[in-house]
Symmetry: C2
């Protein structure tokens, strides 16, 4: 589920759409898209309360990540049905710049919040982009990134192509104790 921006012609496209999104307050979004949508997708309200799917530390861009899932995604993990993930599952990733912990020198902890990125599974609706809708909201103000499906999804799909065989998702669910039912 990593979304490194790829280079080449896509980069210009991505930067252009980022600048447009960042410069526009949400209220200036086209009227056909609700103010809080990114890439044509509705904001997943209160994803901060979703359960943990995994965590990651990327040394290349010095970021820490928490991968979370909506209740449908968590149920899919419990059922062992994550390749493919079922329609309705949403995976979210909160990304922070990393920093050294104040009290434990060998520990890396979150600094500034960078963005939250999401994959929305609907194998019919998003058939052209791997069965997933892709979206990002930037910063603590959650500014929508991208305002049309084609440009923003292209970078996501390109980056996730190496994990096409695991339903386009980088992170396998972290091993954890089973819930008590």
């Amino acid at each position: 589920m990593k979304t490194h921006l790829i280079f080449g012609s896509l980069l210009a496209l991505i930067l252009t759409s980022f600048n447009v999104a960042a410069a526009q307050p949400a209220s200036d979004q086209p009227s056909s898209i609700p103010a809080d949508t990114a890439n044509g997708i509705a904001f997943p309200v209160n994803y901060q309360d979703w359960a943990v799917v995994s965590v990651a530390h990327r040394e290349d861009n010095k970021t820490l990540r928490a991968i979370v899932g909506n209740p449908e995604a968590i149920q899919a993990i419990k059922d062992g049905k994550t390749n493919p993930w079922p329609d309705g599952a949403i995976l979210g990733k909160m990304v922070w710049k990393d920093r050294q912990d104040d009290h434990w020198a060998a520990a890396t902890v979150p600094d500034k919040f960078i963005h939250a990125e999401f994959m929305f599974k609907d194998h019919q609706k998003w058939a052209d982009t791997g069965g997933w809708g892709w979206a990002r909201w930037v910063g603590t103000e959650q500014i929508p990134f991208g305002n049309d499906t084609l440009s923003a999804s292209a970078s996501c799909v390109a980056c996730h192509t190496p994990v096409k065989n695991q339903d386009w998702v980088f992170h396998k669910p972290a091993i954890m104790p089973k819930r008590i039912r």
Copy 2:
């Protein structure tokens, strides 16, 4: 909230109690303590569904961590009341051995689940141990670690003493977008 085992006399005590706990199935715990308690504290059922408080990567022991909070802890974060944390707040930490990601060489992701550790806030009940009850369950089978309050808490409290001034908690809540109420 890190719980490095400290060295010296405590280490022997800790290892002894670990060995006892690891060797005993939960059903062999003393009858005065429910089978699923650790260090005299009841197991926090389905903590896996709690929301994210923070994440961390410890380079010294090569572990990744997800810090989660029960609803009382998450409400305290929303209210900005985390020093001290309110009674009823529980902070949990899931700890995994780290490994290199299969598809992104610069990314570190969870491998084997090591243990889950918890701090239970009750400033009166746990007045002798910083206002927190301390407990750990080991492995995916969640074997209780320690079966008396004194020995297991001593190592936790000793390790957390550097963060006494932030109510004994290493992890400040990660910056994240506010929930929509």
